[in-house]
């Protein structure tokens, strides 16, 4: 048996799904080939590690936020249906939910006093994540993206996209946001969270250097504020 043929059988061998003749023939190869033997042992360890991957918790308010999105979606679907007097339009299923951006949209993830989870930061030198189950995405946080209209000129016209996570944005909490930019904290957008989207898309004439985002609950005492300084654009 060649090493390559042997390799193709490794998974079935570890899962004990090979018939007896194949098992014997593979084991014959393994007894003579240390490289394949090591490979099988390492593969077995990988397999075991994969099977033991821990489960992660749902972010707070996941269920409530999802339901409020679905309620909004249902209202939208019913409206559309009424407008077109069509009972069902299958194309609806495949309509992309996201805005399609031009090439090379700049994306950035920023945080201020609030904690933000990032894969890379989690591996950073500070070692601030000690448990998968206490991931900081359990805290209310935001993600901010800047999508320039013309990627070659990222400081000009574009869309500031703010996404909310782990916010108690049930319909009755009445969370509203306001986005302020520039040294004078000029208000550029206000709105209600989760009605019906999880993000705010704000068209701006030029990329702001600073952004302040406030979220306030009408009926709850929830209040958060993030101040961001956008890194200098280095072009696409």
């Amino acid at each position: 048996m060649q090493c390559q043929t042997a390799q193709e059988l490794f998974s079935d061998y570890i899962a004990q799904e090979l018939d007896r003749a194949m098992t014997l023939s593979l084991e014959h190869h393994l007894s003579a080939c240390p490289a394949c033997r090591d490979e099988v042992a390492a593969l077995r360890r990988t397999w075991q590690a994969l099977d033991r991957m821990p489960r992660v918790d749902l972010p707070p308010y996941f269920h409530e936020n999802l339901i409020s999105r679905i309620v909004a979606e249902q209202a939208r679907v019913e409206q559309e249906a009424a407008a077109r007097r069509a009972a069902w339009d299958w194309r609806w299923l495949f309509r992309p939910r996201q805005l399609a951006f031009g090439a090379a949209a700049l994306a950035l993830v920023l945080a201020s006093a609030e904690v933000i989870q990032t894969q890379r930061a989690a591996l950073g030198p500070v070692g601030w994540v000690t448990s998968l189950f206490r991931h900081p995405s359990q805290q209310p946080h935001i993600r901010v993206e800047w999508a320039p209209e013309n990627p070659a000129d990222p400081a000009r016209r574009g869309t500031l996209i703010v996404r909310w996570y782990a916010m108690p944005a049930t319909p009755d909490s009445g969370l509203t946001y306001s986005v302020l930019t520039g040294p004078q904290d000029t208000s550029v957008s206000t709105g209600v969270l989760f009605q019906p989207d999880t993000d705010a898309r704000i068209q701006l004439e030029q990329r702001p250097e600073t952004v302040r985002i406030r979220v306030t609950g009408a009926t709850t005492r929830f209040r958060r504020e993030w101040s961001l300084t956008l890194p200098k654009a280095s072009g696409p």
Partner: protein, 195 residues
Amino acid sequence: MTPAEEKLLIERCKQGDQAAFDKLIRAYERRVYNLAYRLSGNYDEANDISVDAFLRVFQAIRLFRGDANFSTWLFRIVTNVYLDRRKRMKNRQHLSLEEYIELEENSVARQVEDPSPGPQATIEQTERWEKLQEAINALPDYQRAMIVLYHTEGLSYEEIAQVMSLNIGTVKSRLNRARLLLREKLEPIKELFGS
């Protein structure tokens, strides 16, 4: 929930019963979120994928005929949402979040302090899972999906074949290749995975 109860629940969902849909979501949201997290390797993306997937389920539940398991159908939607997003991101050559975070790392790190560092063992364990997830993230999209469906969601080859519209032979051989590739990616840090 027994299969019969689930079937009844799905029938009620098809008739637009919101309480039934709420119950169906509760039954599956954890698995969906975990699947989305292992696929994307990112908590916030997992959130977005899960929400999109459940919205699609809500829109398409009337088309669910029941010849496959509901969970298989659901996982197919989650996997497709994930794969669609990946395609879209590639098409728009999005500067990836991670790259940007690296530039921002100092400011993030400065602001973030762990109030109570756990014992060394916990850090090592966490590192181990993070590294494994990183290696999964480095796999090609389809291989990644297969690995996650098989190993963390416990789907059979047959179910994965249904979820990904492939035949079982293809699933088996590609999964074998994916595991070998993963093994290779873990080689430099194999001491973390010593038995």
